[in-house]
């Protein structure tokens, strides 16, 4: 790694030709200065303002559709080996006037089984309390708790008011984790509880670590009983069953939120609630031309939320006909027809589709009892067909010009790297002016820094190794304290209260007489 005074290596120039397919609103680069040249309302060209930028941080580009009064949809196409791939983008309308929100009925389902013990149940309680405080008058709610038994706060959903919320907070505060996990009865209760009338938007929020074995049965129940309820899963703890939670949320047209630490509760729950509170287009349906075989991701199509763009990738067996999109914008039905022939050609759509397909295959692989070898074969097929890097494939560059004449020995050279932005060279490597070589990677400080930056690594497996669980109970402390207290009590009894005891003793004898 190079000292910053040595100047940057690997300078980068970057230009982006952004053709969004819809009228563009804001374009922002999160970490770099860019200059933007608007070609027309859908089209912009942008370059980094600095001529040579060191490659020492991520480049992130964020763009939004221009606010329109109606939802809009755009479609793109790419044909690979005779198969058309489509990319569909749907953007929600932006409301100038605040629309009256649809009243919602929210059922919270909280896992209080033994596996939630300790830190997890605290996170769940905090999350639930936070959620309760965000409910609005006009909404209805209920809480269902389950371990190996199920019980609920109210027999049926109750309107939100000071009294019901007070009761609920009290109930949540008293929740403790023990017993086994029987999720099915709670799930059924949540999906059948029709305390509120039909015009409510039903949202079921599941807080659990997902330590269960009967996933398929639960998925079948969700599919059969869900009706138009939306299911939002909140994964608690450092390693929740993310296969179950993501798939349940996908089936329930909701989202999966992972809360790994108590400190994350406020931020993550707020983000989820902003979604819960602002569905823009619901009941989205795609009708492909009759007879067309289409594989779409995500499936089923989720709702469209305020300020977000819904991206659907599809692979079809033919590219003619009309795609009908319908949905509900609050009370108003919304419909649009897109002729597939008119889809503009774009590169990379098939890759996007393949990535989503691989992600979904990987998810199925995480499931208990999955046929991993067969799924690995599927993943390999998709990744190879679309030239993608996956867990099983990587890109190999072959340089045909010989760089080492035959007979010469192999030399090993370390390639200098830029110091990642925000790092302090002296703090990581100490006061050395010479660029450090590979050995620098062994520096414990550097490893610590790497771990901080390694937030996307699987739970507990950063560069610093597997995070180990707690290895002691409070049994000894409790026993020692208990015995100490008992001895103290006994001593007090003997030395201070003896006359009194004698008095009582005498008293008993008197009574007996």
């Amino acid at each position: 790694m190079l000292h910053p005074d040595a100047g940057p290596v690997n300078p980068v120039t970057l230009s982006v030709d952004l053709d969004a397919g819809f009228p563009l609103g804001d374009i922002m680069s999160s970490y770099h200065q860019i200059s933007i040249n608007h070609r027309d309302e859908r089209h912009a060209a942008l370059v980094l303002s600095e001529d040579t930028t060191p490659a020492n941080r991520d480049f992130e580009l964020v763009w939004r559709p221009k606010n329109g009064a109606a939802p809009s949809a755009a479609i793109f196409k790419e044909t690979i080996a005779g198969n058309p791939f489509f990319l569909l983008m749907i953007t929600p309308p932006s409301y100038e006037i605040e629309k009256k929100p649809t009243p919602r009925e929210i059922i919270f389902v909280i896992d209080t089984s033994g596996s939630m013990g300790g830190e997890s149940i605290r996170q769940a309680r905090d999350s639930l309390a936070m959620a309760l405080k965000r409910l609005q008058p006009g909404d209805a709610f209920n809480i269902i708790r389950f371990s190996d038994q199920t019980d609920q706060l109210f027999p049926a959903s109750q309107p939100v008011n000071a009294e019901t919320i007070g009761n609920a907070l009290h109930y949540v505060n008293a929740l403790d984790a023990s017993g086994g996990t029987m999720m099915l009865p709670a799930l059924k209760a949540a999906l059948t509880d029709h305390g509120a009338s039909q015009q409510y938007l039903r949202q079921v929020v599941f807080l659990t670590d997902g330590a269960i074995g009967n996933e398929q049965q639960l998925f079948d129940t969700i599919a059969a009983m869900r009706g138009d309820a939306r299911i939002f899963t909140v994964g608690i703890g450092s390693a929740p069953n993310s296969y179950f939670m993501s798939r349940a949320a996908e089936l329930g047209q909701g989202t999966f939120t992972h809360i790994g630490a108590v400190t994350e509760v406020a931020e993550r729950m707020n983000a989820m609630f902003e979604k819960l509170e602002s569905p823009a287009i619901t009941n989205l349906r795609l009708r492909w031309p009759d007879g067309a075989q289409v594989e779409t991701w995500p499936s089923p199509i989720p709702d469209l939320y305020k300020g977000e763009t819904l991206v659907v990738a599809a692979r079809a067996d033919r590219g003619e006909g009309t795609l009908q999109i319908s949905g509900a914008d609050g009370e108003t039905p919304w419909k649009v027809a897109l002729p597939l022939e008119g889809a503009a050609n774009r590169k990379g759509i098939s890759k996007l589709w393949a990535r989503k397909k691989i992600a979904s295959l990987e998810l199925s692989r995480a499931r208990a009892g999955a046929d991993r070898a067969a799924l690995d074969n599927n993943i390999l097929d998709v990744a190879l067909a679309h030239d993608l890097i996956s867990r099983l494939t990587s890109l190999v560059a072959v340089d045909v010009t010989p760089s080492r004449p035959g007979g010469e020995n192999i030399a090993r050279t370390d390639i200098p790297l830029n110091l990642p932005h925000g790092w302090d060279f002296e703090k990581v490597f100490g006061n050395e002016t010479k660029p450090r070589q590979r050995e620098a990677l062994a520096s414990p400080l550097l490893q610590a820094r790497v771990t901080e930056a390694d937030a996307t690594a699987p739970a507990g497996q950063g560069r610093s190794g597997v995070a180990l669980p707690q290895g002691a109970t409070l049994a000894d402390v409790k026993i020692m304290r208990g015995v100490l207290f008992l001895t103290l009590a006994f001593l007090i009894l003997i030395f201070t209260l003896r006359p009194q005891a004698a008095y009582w003793f005498a008293d008993v004898k008197r009574d007996a007489r």
Partner: protein, 205 residues
């Protein structure tokens, strides 16, 4: 009874308010003491009884059952039997390392491989229950690990170290089949801390 007695005998022996307060405090102290010692004993008893039930479930597992629950409402099941022959210790290890699971037995960390496969299998338990024997373990000791298929693998302790729980330096991926037995350190501390004792054993052929 006390007021009645006081009436009969005059005020001389009647409990004064101070005395009553003392009686009350003593009572609270005694109750807290009882509660605490029972709470502590319960943890130990749970650890012992669970192992007995797990032993039964393990026998059924060896007979070919899978995910055998040691008791009907359990959400854990036996996955390994661990033995330290020199110290004459055995324990049935479980799936998972949640606080609840570790009250019943050592847990095999779910993101680590099954013992015998390449990489490091990490098994954790409490230093005051199932892994109490780790304080007497020495390099060269054998650790026998039996898998649900009945095969017993012999591992030999090659290294012990003290690490920080969040910077363990232990990695699940590797080429040599290894197991790491992990518990809290120091062994005689009263309260749980961040340091862990790790005994690493390598598969011997």
């Amino acid at each position: 009874m006390i007021p009645g007695a006081a009436r009969l005998n005059g005020a001389s022996l009647r409990p004064s308010p101070r005395r009553l307060a003392l009686i009350f405090c003593t009572l609270i102290l005694a109750l807290t003491g009882l509660f605490d010692s029972f709470g502590g004993a319960r943890i130990k008893a749970k650890a012992l009884v669970a192992q007995l039930l797990l032993e039964k479930a393990w026998e059924r597992t060896l007979d070919g059952e899978t995910q055998t629950k040691p008791w009907p409402w359990a959400d854990i099941w036996p996955v390994l039997k661990i033995e330290a022959p020199r110290l004459r210790q055995t324990a049935i290890a479980l799936s998972g390392v949640s606080g609840q699971a570790m009250a019943f037995g050592p847990g095999l960390m779910p993101q680590t491989p099954t013992p015998g496969e390449p990489g490091m299998s990490i098994i954790a338990a409490h230093r005051d229950t199932h892994f109490k024997f780790l304080k007497n373990i020495t390099i060269g000791d054998d650790i026998l690990v039996t898998k649900p298929d009945g095969n017993t693998l012999r591992f030999t302790i090659t290294e012990t170290r003290i690490v920080n729980a969040n910077q363990s330096g232990l990695y699940a991926d590797g080429e040599t089949p290894q197991i790491a037995l992990v518990t809290c350190w120091p062994f005689n501390a009263l309260t749980p801390g961040d340091e862990r004792f790790v005994a690493i054993a390598t598969l011997s052929h």
